[in-house]
């Protein structure tokens, strides 16, 4: 018999399956490579530098915060996801120092102040985006046409800012929007790249289909109800990126499937409310943040019904 130095005791079960937290995060990073790739393709070095600063600042802040709390820093990939996503929802021309400020805000205030991974109430990337659009409103609303690595950028409007003008079907423009060849935040313009990345995560069951599918579905239905083109609403603006990558963030979305479906419906309704009636052309960021806020309430009222609950009432009565 081989002598065993020290046996190990641990609670049951003694088997595990499935990805670890960091593997999940790196899968998301992998999926995000598609929209990031599109961003670099369309916006060139600007995209590269914004993403670089955002990721760097996010990781550094995470490191500092963890150490300040006396915890060890684990490279679990969640700060990486936050960094990439935060970069992807910024306009290409944003000054780099503001990107760093935003990424620090995302990690230090929105995530670590609440206790770090798993404890934050609001989506760090989106919280920081909202912070940025209030703090640096001007650069946050300056958009450029995609020019790749080439020519100097020309300021332009995003498709959504001229909402009313886009009611007729224009195949060429739609194709551009689908591929990502329009003005907008770095990662939100290419619906194709987002679909590939999101599809990957859905297929790998890393994320639950309920939120994105219902979210996009409700937006389309409401667009129809308001007499607008649903396809336009899906392709323009940050809906796809938000629905696939941000509304699905485990930490800030409801726990149960029922809760996720409710959340999807609310998200769709809020987004269209803001897009249709609101002062801002884009509603995805604020809708998701609002849903983050009421997630605890949704969780509270969508708990599973335990096995054997009804029967007790019967047998007791």
């Amino acid at each position: 018999m081989t002598p065993v130095k020290k046996f190990l005791i641990s609670p049951s079960p003694h088997l595990w399956k499935g990805p670890s937290v960091s593997k999940i995060m790196y899968l998301v990073v992998l999926a995000l490579m598609f929209p990031s790739g599109a961003a670099v393709y369309f916006f060139g070095y600007r995209a590269l530098s914004v993403l670089g600063v955002s990721v760097g600042a996010a990781l550094l802040t995470e490191y500092v915060c963890r150490r300040m709390r006396g915890h060890t820093f684990v490279m679990d990939g969640s700060a990486l996801v936050t960094g990439i996503l935060f970069g992807l929802i910024l306009p290409p021309t944003i000054p780099l120092w503001t990107v760093a400020v935003g990424a620090i805000f995302a990690i230090a205030i929105v995530k670590e102040a609440f206790g770090g991974l798993g404890h934050n109430i609001f989506n760090p990337a989106l919280g920081a985006r909202a912070f940025m659009s209030v703090s640096f409103s001007l650069p946050m609303t300056t958009w450029v046409e995609p020019t790749g690595f080439g020519v100097d950028a020309v300021t332009s409007a995003t498709p959504l800012s001229g909402l009313s003008g886009w009611q007729q079907f224009d195949p060429a423009a739609y194709q551009a929007m689908f591929l990502g060849n329009t003005a907008g935040s770095l990662g939100e313009t290419s619906a194709l790249a987002i679909l590939i990345g999101g599809g990957l995560l859905l297929g790998l069951r890393v994320m639950n289909w309920r939120i994105p599918v219902i979210y996009v579905g409700v937006v389309s239905l409401l667009a129809l109800a308001f007499g607008q083109d649903p396809l336009f609403h899906i392709l323009a603006g940050g809906l796809m990126l938000g629905a696939f990558f941000m509304a699905t963030d485990y930490v800030t979305s409801p726990l149960t499937n029922r809760g996720k479906m409710i959340s999807g419906v609310f998200l769709g309704a809020l987004t269209m409310l803001i897009r249709h009636f609101g002062g801002m052309p884009e509603g995805v960021c604020y809708s998701i943040l609002c849903m983050n806020a009421i997630t605890p309430l949704i969780d509270r009222y969508t708990k599973e019904r335990p096995y054997g609950l009804v029967e007790r009432a019967r047998s007791a009565g």
């Binding site: 018999m1 081989t2 065993v4 130095k5 020290k6 046996f7 190990l8 005791i9 641990s10 609670p11 049951s12 079960p13 003694h14 088997l15 595990w16 399956k17 499935g18 990805p19 670890s20 937290v21 593997k23 999940i24 684990v74 679990d76 969640s78 206790g115 770090g116 991974l117 798993g118 404890h119 639950n208 485990y250 930490v251 979305s253 726990l255 149960t256 499937n257 996720k260 708990k303 599973e304 019904r305 335990p306 096995y307 054997g308 609950l309 009804v310 029967e311 007790r312 019967r314 047998s315």
Partner: protein
């Protein structure tokens, strides 16, 4: 194949998980393990009260002699599993309660001399009371894992009407094959035992539930049912192989659509579930008059030659592992029971007990728990439809009342939540913590 009408359609459940199977010993016939030189026989091997020793140091005992008993209602006597001399008493830590309990040490005389057994010629002639008495005197407890005294389970309180018996041959733990082998090799005894409890309870229907990864067992049992003339009184239900199919609450739901009430028992919905090894032991106890001194245990995992062994209780783990060729490689974990629900043990001198259905040796590392990322996987698969992540969080924060309000008592600790958790949170451990704390509080009141 379905000519007999005995086999029903396969059933499956959306909950639970498919655990990759490692049934290394499915095709290995049962072997008899060598008798231990010293048997350490714990006086508390069942759910309920512990037994008091009936013998003293220096007494000579025979195999099958009653050496411990209790006058508490929920208890089962303990028998000597080898013949020899009582060498003294010691303490062992009961894995189920983590408390030290007394154990008797029997030093073998190597003769394995049995007490005089009292077989009955015609079991049909026994009265229900006689049957129950024989079951109790044999020290029978459920061998499916929980070790609940069988004579209690088979004597439901006056107003309870049992209309269904389910014979549990699922064996959903991914390594265990002892029930599988018992069905293949001792199928007659299993069915005979089943028939005895059918006589006791006279149910309308009797099912045998077997997972579809044991096709040979299903066929064998099917043939036996026909051969023994049970006709369609006993039906076999093949089940999708999924953990924890074998839990009785899942079976009642899946087979009958009945949910066992929270804090209730299957008998509250008219069902009794017994394990195949238990009915085999019932046959032996009632017909052959043989007390429960041994059972089939699968010794598997990282051992040189995994085996299905017929083991006397009290045999130290170390000798079983040695008999199977010793530990392979860097394996550092010995699990009493299956890897999903079993207890890790670090002391190879620890004896096997009635509830031990397998011993699994494997290599494992220390994992650090991370924070819950609220992925919801545990909720999606919990067969009891609980909110495992919340239970763990509440327990961790010491909020046991909230655990209670979230039905922590309904959890049967199957462990699939922790199995799928990406953050590697020992959810079951937290849940158990809360249960113990709540029980402690309830006891204080």
């Amino acid at each position: 194949m379905n000519e007999s009408g005995v086999r029903l359609k396969k059933k499956s459940s959306p909950y639970g998980v498919k655990v990759p199977e490692r049934k290394l010993t499915a095709q290995r016939p049962i072997e008899r393990a060598p008798l231990p030189e010293r048997a350490i026989i714990s006086l508390h091997q069942n759910i309920g009260a512990a037994s008091q020793a009936l013998v003293r140091r220096g007494d000579r005992v025979l195999t099958g002699q009653k050496i411990g008993d209790s006058d508490k209602l929920i208890s089962a006597p303990i028998h000597a599993t080898i013949s020899g001399e009582i060498a003294g008493t010691t303490m062992v830590i009961n894995p189920a309660t983590a408390r030290p309990v007394e154990a008797l040490v029997v030093a073998s005389d190597g003769a394995d001399e049995w007490v005089q057994l009292e077989p009955v010629e015609n079991p049909e002639a026994l009265s229900p009371k006689e049957i129950l008495d024989r079951i109790r005197e044999a020290g029978l407890v459920g061998l499916g894992g929980a070790a609940f005294p069988s004579h209690i389970k088979l004597a439901p309180p006056g107003d309870a009407r049992i209309d269904t018996i389910i014979l549990n041959g699922c064996e959903c733990e991914p390594y265990a094959t002892s029930d599988h082998r018992v069905m293949l090799e001792c199928g007659e005894k299993v069915l005979s035992g089943l028939n005895i409890i059918r006589k006791l309870l006279s149910p309308e229907t009797t099912y045998i539930a077997i997972e579809d990864n044991k096709e040979d067992a299903i066929e064998h049992m099917e043939d036996l049912i026909v051969a023994m003339g049970f006709k369609e009184d006993i039906k076999i239900v093949p089940l999708e192989s999924k953990y924890p199919m074998g839990a009785e609450r899942i079976l009642t739901k899946l087979l009958l659509g009945r949910e066992v009430p929270i804090a209730g028992l299957p008998l509250n919905v008219g069902v009794v579930v017994h394990n195949v090894s238990t009915t085999k032991a019932i046959h032996e106890a009632v017909v052959e008059g043989k007390p429960l001194v041994e059972r089939v245990i699968t010794v598997t995992g990282a051992v040189n030659s995994p085996k299905n062994l017929l083991v006397r209780f009290g045999t130290p783990l170390g000798s079983l592992i040695e008999y199977c060729g010793g530990i392979v490689g860097k394996a550092n974990k010995v699990i009493l029971g299956g890897p999903m629900m079993g207890f890790a043990q670090f002391d190879l001198g620890f004896p096997t007990m009635k509830g031990t259905n397998s011993v699994v040796v494997k290599e494992d590392t220390i994992v650090t728990e991370q924070c819950c990322i609220r992925c919801g996987r545990c909720i999606e698969i919990c067969p009891m439809h609980l909110m495992p992540t919340l239970l763990a969080k509440y327990a961790k924060a010491g909020r046991y009342d909230q655990c209670k309000a979230a039905y922590v008592d309904n959890c049967f600790e199957c462990g699939v939540c922790a199995y799928v958790c990406p953050a590697k949170i020992p959810i079951v451990q937290y849940i158990e913590m809360a249960k113990r704390e709540l029980a402690k509080r309830a006891a204080k009141k």
